[in-house]
Symmetry: C2
Subunit: 333 residues, 2 copies
């Protein structure tokens, strides 16, 4: 890589101006078909590679959409990202990904870093952000979409569902099937906002249905996963039988709990019901299958892409898209 090949080189080879090359590369109709072909040809031969950095600089349009996710290692967030990623390509945008580790302070740091790349829009997971994050975004007037949890005070567009409503479905179902002594298995108080919203949803739904107070079971710091679900039940041991339903913050946690119940010899669903959240693959495959709610992770991503597309082409769009959540009955309840 002694000297980099630029449009100028291609232009000289063909015998036209760099401007014509630039036009040809953007498939500008005003460049004659013949010239375009010659330019393509020469570019190919010279091994020219288009430089998006220069374009981003000159046009002040980066072609980037910045995305933050709590974790990439979560099948649901990954599905959302996939839906977004596959759909966004059409509008010529590229995604810049950052993982917050479920912490809004980390999110702030990430947003700061991502903003230096001049993204044309920002997609955040969740509706809670540090004041500095909010300020950074609003000062710039950057288009924002918040996804997953529908926020009370949105920054811009939002696409997702209500954790409380989704958990309400679960609790109603459990109550309808005669379960009364519910425990909620999730992260420790305060650590995970999404988890906290789900716990709150369970508690209020239980209260509304006249069930006894829900017992919160701390499964450790977020992100809680299979191991934590298993460990939480292992810690309880046979006293898990004090409950007749474990409402878990997510399917992985539910699966961990289910496996541990089997090890303990606690029969699911006869002695104990177990429910998850998110409709992960493990819930659909395990034996018995886990009762859960489908929150359309994939579709969230796809809808975000659609909204982005519309936003960037200046359309008027609904500010808030609630994709809802549907109960998926399994054999654990």
């Amino acid at each position: 890589m002694i000297t980099r090949i630029t449009m100028r080189d291609v232009a000289e080879a063909v015998g036209v101006s760099p401007m014509t090359v630039s036009r040809a590369f953007r498939d500008d109709e005003t460049v004659s078909t013949k010239t375009r072909a010659r330019i393509r040809q020469a570019a190919q031969e010279l091994g020219y590679v288009y430089d998006s950095t220069a374009t981003a600089f000159r046009t002040q349009k980066s072609g980037f959409v910045a995305v933050t996710l709590p974790s990439i290692n979560n099948a649901n967030f990954a599905e959302t990202y996939r839906g977004l990623s596959e759909r966004i390509g059409d509008s010529g945008m590229q995604l810049l990904l950052g993982a917050t580790g479920y912490r809004i302070e980390k999110e702030e740091e990430l947003v700061r870093q991502l903003l230096t790349r001049n993204p044309e829009a920002l997609v955040l997971t969740g509706g809670h952000h540090t004041p500095a994050t909010r300020a950074l975004i609003t000062i710039r007037g950057l288009p924002v979409i918040e996804m997953w949890d529908l926020p009370e005070i949105p920054l811009g567009y939002s696409v997702g569902f209500s954790n409380a409503a989704a958990m309400g479905r679960i609790v109603e179902h459990l109550s309808a099937s005669g379960r009364r002594r519910l425990a909620f298995v999730g992260a420790a108080e305060g650590a995970d906002l999404r988890g906290a919203a789900r716990r709150a949803g369970v508690i209020s739904a239980a209260a509304e249905l006249g069930l006894p107070e829900v017992e919160p079971i701390d499964a450790g710091p977020a992100p809680v996963s299979m191991q934590h679900g298993a460990a939480a039940v292992a810690r309880l041991g046979h006293s898990v039988r004090a409950f007749d339903a474990l409402v878990c913050v997510s399917d992985p946690v539910a699966f961990g709990a289910l496996s541990e119940c089997r090890r303990l010899g606690v029969s699911v669903p006869d002695e104990l019901a177990i429910t998850g959240f998110g409709h992960f693959e493990v819930a659909a495959v395990s034996e018995p299958r886990i009762t859960t709610v489908d929150v359309n992770a994939r579709r969230i991503g796809e809808e975000v892409a659609r909204v982005l597309d519309g936003m960037l082409s200046g359309e008027e769009l609904a500010g808030r898209i609630d994709l809802g959540a549907s109960l998926v009955l399994g054999g654990t309840s």
Copy 2:
């Protein structure tokens, strides 16, 4: 966002030249502490955001490392990405991610797109690429790391393990525990190169140990996951008892197979052994736990980050890092 705030604006506010502001922002020691503080202050007040695009353009260093993964929705690849992502921050690099969907043609398209962003290095998963991909990279002299599968003809550095060796461990273990009629459950012939390497590893290890020919069971097109593992066993039904061990291409597939065996009433491991690959969380939590091999997904990412760091600072490094794979015994074998 009427007019964007630049270093010039900050410079004017403080009463210095833009160059001094530039130096201050890069923590250049030659700028006096007092001036630096005043610049920081003014930048803060004006809401100035550093523009990496301009820097990337001027210095011809993008600060990007491009990464391709087969899929983001795979706990192992996600872990590798996480390891890489968390370690790479130190060198000031940012990752640009693309997912190939396990297809080298898509990889080529992605690499093309990523190259327009002038990445300073490229990280590819796997050792098989289209000729065009290889050409694109070598012409540019772009530093490359191939990870996961150690390639026969590497493009540059490589960090990973041998699929064949790892599968060898599994087969040896099965053979040593008296299993003889092995089936390999994976993607259809040719579809998935990584899967094909694993199948080949099983077949040759079995041959070496004098076991009968291994039966290949097609679990569908890559990526094969839990559902596919379950469906493959469901399709076999009770004739699965013709085998005494199912060697699965991955833990999710093994878990699907295990669940389906339970539904069928086939006893694992008494009637049938099941093994996985990759040491996914589900293998460690399911009951029984699944025998698998740990390929150090997280560490692959971390090592790649280390190699990148060294590469970019011009150190001499080992060209090939084999992190090996270790057998993890579970209750399914």
